[in-house]
Amino acid sequence: MSTNVLVIENSIAVDLAVGKSSIRRRILALLMAEPDQRLHLREIQRRVRTSPGTASRELALLVAAGLVEREAEGHQVYFRPTSSPFSTMVRTLLLAPGVQAPDRVPNSLVPVDATLEPVRPPRTIRGSAPARTNSRRPDALGLRVLGRLAEVLGPLYADRLAGVFLYGSRARGDAQPDADVEIVVVLTTIERYGDELERTSAACAGLSLELGLVVSRVFVSEAAWQSGIDGRLRVMRSEAMSG
């Protein structure tokens, strides 16, 4: 009984604090679930499954309300919860475990990614992928391409190669037949991005022609991969499969 009263009180308080917009609540819940992380606009938009315009508009309202702060870095803009007492209070209302009553707490209060395990740094990056975060089986074709590329990249990069992983829909096991094969190449250092593309260009184009698909790759430094600060890199790490 007391829990129900608390839930009702919290629902009203959250309504008063952030309004009734479900998208706004989902954005806030996403940000407040990981208050030490900052997220890029597109990452937020993707994770709450809304349009960029809506995400931008709702974020502007949250910034104006003092619940979220905006940080520009170069051409990128990131968002994170403020550390104000008001923000802390709203976070408590949104995410307090004692108020989880399914019939009263809207789904919009649960972070979209709440069902995912937290992304942890791999124990060792070389030769292994981070722990899987879902039980779906990776795509056989994706793994075959990964193996073929790893054979080429090993001698090509030698000690600079820290890891080669499959990510995206083929790693998750939910790929359409013509989906790209998405590969992340982790290197100890990346001096010039275009040079890495050029080194691997023939191998990727050859596989693309052979398979009638697009074999796509990105290069990530070992330091960035291990720190996993940026939102999309964290998602890639959670999906990553080694051969």
Binding site: H75, Y193, V218, F219
Partner: protein
């Protein structure tokens, strides 16, 4: 040259000019995006000769590879350049925010200009 091919080549020209402006403004994300768009429009102009009109990036890359990647009708490296431009765009996007340098993007823009010249010759030979 078909009307559609003309439009695509003109669109590629505009994208190349825009990519140069974005390079001058030191905006890697926008420059890489415009350079990739230029490459895609040029690939579509080639495919138009074969009566093909794929839409999404992935479909254009696959169709261009299938029609021109190994056929000898166009220099085979253009297929590589197309895929590299798409990957550079992905790397430069705010989603990933990888450290893509402007010089790497400038290379893609130069390649788009070389590709444009080749495509104009190709579509004029194959109206």
């Amino acid at each position: 040259m078909s009307e559609r091919a003309v439009q695509l080549v003109e669109g590629a020209e505009r994208a190349i000019a825009s990519a140069h402006r974005e390079l001058d403004a030191e905006d890697p994300e926008a420059a890489a995006e415009r350079a990739c768009v230029a490459m895609l429009r040029l690939a579509k102009a080639c495919l138009d000769v074969d009566g093909l009109a794929p839409g999404p990036t992935q479909a254009v890359c696959i169709a261009y590879g299938s029609q021109f990647g190994r056929s000898g009708r166009m220099y085979s490296a253009y297929h590589r350049w197309l895929l590299d431009a798409a990957d550079l765009r992905k790397a430069s996007s705010g989603d990933l925010n990888l450290p893509v340098d402007l010089a790497s993007i400038a290379t893609v823009v130069e390649r788009a200009e070389i590709f444009r010249d080749a495509v104009v010759r190709f579509v004029e030979r194959n109206p």
